[in-house]
């Protein structure tokens, strides 16, 4: 394999990795503010792509369709939290995650009713030939994916470190009781986390849709890989989510390059199980202690 081919694989790894990072950030945001894993996170990814396709079909210009799909998915995330999760927020995590599992079933199924069972295509954000870089050809859409991921990460960093909402979110991730004592409306923070998580998932879904097509049932895989990325980097750690996503993407594409494409999907699953079983706090996470 020459260097151009290798670069090609790295680029495709970073392309998928950026998408995984976006989905992983969604998992991480919700986990940090609620302590639960949102099993519907993958469906937000699916809705991002599907709603954008629907918007284009409806006659919206592409940029508006993309924005509308991200905003619409965020609204669905907010609504889902408010209607299905908040009434039970004092229950154990098992109850909440099963509600999110039910939510993912319903979202997926409703998407099939609304958009049909077939694969759908979204036009590329900026049409044109791939850009050739050191012998590797990189699709223009890939640049969009990277750009949007970078923008999202910067915006999220700003939100976390510089705004009042960000401080409230960080306080909630440490302790809800303490946050409440500081006068923070924890219910609102949780709801906003869901909205943001949905928006991030949707952004990943809409950004990659022109390259891979989309369908009502793409959520589960995307959710699993995003979760694998999130836990690889340490669940609840936003930087870990981004690193985990990129590492997972590269590992996948290297496995295609050096082993075979047959088990590409299995790689992330094996990594997921290995991290869960051996180091559930993630590669970047610290080992916690369980209290009796």
């Amino acid at each position: 394999m020459n260097s151009a081919e290798l670069l090609q694989f790295v680029a495709s790894g970073l392309q998928n990795g950026a998408v995984y990072a976006l989905v992983a950030l969604g998992f991480t945001l919700v986990y940090a503010s609620t302590g639960i894993i949102n099993f519907a996170q993958g469906e937000f990814f699916m809705l991002g792509g599907m709603l954008a396709v629907a918007g284009v079909r409806f006659g919206l210009p592409l940029p508006f369709a993309v924005l509308a799909s991200v905003a619409g998915t965020a609204a669905i995330g907010l609504l889902f939290e408010r209607v299905a999760l908040r009434p039970r927020r004092d229950s154990g995590p098992l109850v909440l995650i099963i509600i999110t599992i039910g939510g993912s079933m319903v979202m997926k199924s409703l998407a099939r009713h609304a958009f049909g069972p077939n694969e759908l295509t979204l036009p590329p954000f900026s049409p044109g030939d791939p850009i050739v870089l050191a012998g590797a050809s990189i699709d223009r859409q890939v640049l969009w994916i990277w750009g949007l991921t970078i923008v999202a990460v910067i915006a999220l960093t700003f939100l976390y470190s510089k705004t009042k909402l960000g401080r409230a979110m960080r306080a909630c991730s440490l302790s809800h009781d303490a946050a409440r004592l500081m006068g923070i409306d924890t219910a609102r923070v949780v709801m906003i986390s869901f909205g943001l998580a949905a928006a991030l998932g949707a952004l990943g879904g809409v950004a990659v849709a022109p390259l891979t097509q989309t369908a009502f049932d793409v959520g589960a895989r995307a959710g699993l890989k995003g979760f694998a990325a999130a836990i690889l980097g340490g669940l609840g750690n936003p930087i870990g989510a981004v690193v985990g996503g990129l590492v997972l993407g590269i590992l996948e594409s290297m496995s295609v390059a050096f082993i075979s494409s047959t088990y590409k999907d299995a790689i992330s699953l094996v990594i997921l199980l290995a991290v869960l079983f051996l180091r559930p706090q993630g590669i970047l996470g610290k080992r916690g202690r369980e209290k009796v």
């Binding site: 894993i37 589960a220 088990y263 869960l276 079983f277």
Partner: protein, 335 residues
Amino acid sequence: MTGSWMRRIGGFALPLAACCLLAAVPLITNDRYLFKVLTFVGLNVIVVAGLALLFGFAGQISLGHAAFVGIGAYTCGYLTAVAGVPWPIAVLAGSVLAAFGGLLLAVPSLRLKGHYLAMATLGFNEIMSVLFVELRSITGGNDGLRGIPFASIGAWKIDTPSGNYLLVWAVAVVVLVLVGNVIRTRPGRAMRALHGSELGAMASGVDTRGLKIQVFALSAGLAGLAGALYASAVGFISPSTFSLEFSVLLIAMVVVGGTGSLAGPVTACVLLTLLPYADALIPGLSKDAVAVLQDWEADISGFAMILVLLFAPGGVAGLVRRAAAARRTSVREAA
């Protein structure tokens, strides 16, 4: 007095009547479609009985039970269709291999709680889905495994729809009786204790690790048994049957039926399995109505799951139990 008398009817006479009804179906009708549908119901009942034990009683979630059904189905299918192994041995092998798979998954999962266990079992299901497709020499890949022979014991071949129906339900009834006995005695109490408070269970002398492994293997073994029976009843298996969606549907059945109950999940299982095949029981049902039911099956299950958790977290069985407890209290206060 009436309470215990009624309980005795509920605990003994009702299941007996259900068994008589099940056994009488072939005398009333010879509708092949009906038998096929009821066979599916019986198979799901076997899986749900095991999952109720694991999830409803021991509180250990599994989003990977479809994979255990698949392990049982492919093992039995391969052994009977390709290797020519006698059917009873193939069924046994399918169950044992699935139980072994459950054991392999349970041991590293011991440290994982709640959502981590859910994710690990979900990942396991996806890995098995990939393997069912990719291990072509055994599974036939996406085309599936064809020509799996019917159940046979020696020269006696069970090759009619009604025969398969009776076979599956005979096994299901035995499984229900055995599981029903387990939950009423020491091992079942230990499982409920594990669910209620793991620390409390440990302090009561329950080997919680050993129990988790045991119940995981048992539950996976029952799923494998159902899979093995499925393979020989249908004659053809393909990977999509054993997907994550099926695992989630199974969990939905237990959640809707109620945790800490066997009758609840079994009832929910019967209803949710029949839903897309409602025309088998209701002859006059229009094709359109059936199509709508099939189309909305996942939505109905998903919504039912959310609604139950929002408004009746103990499931339908929990509502019944609470009502009974409230009546007992009011009777005591009145007396």
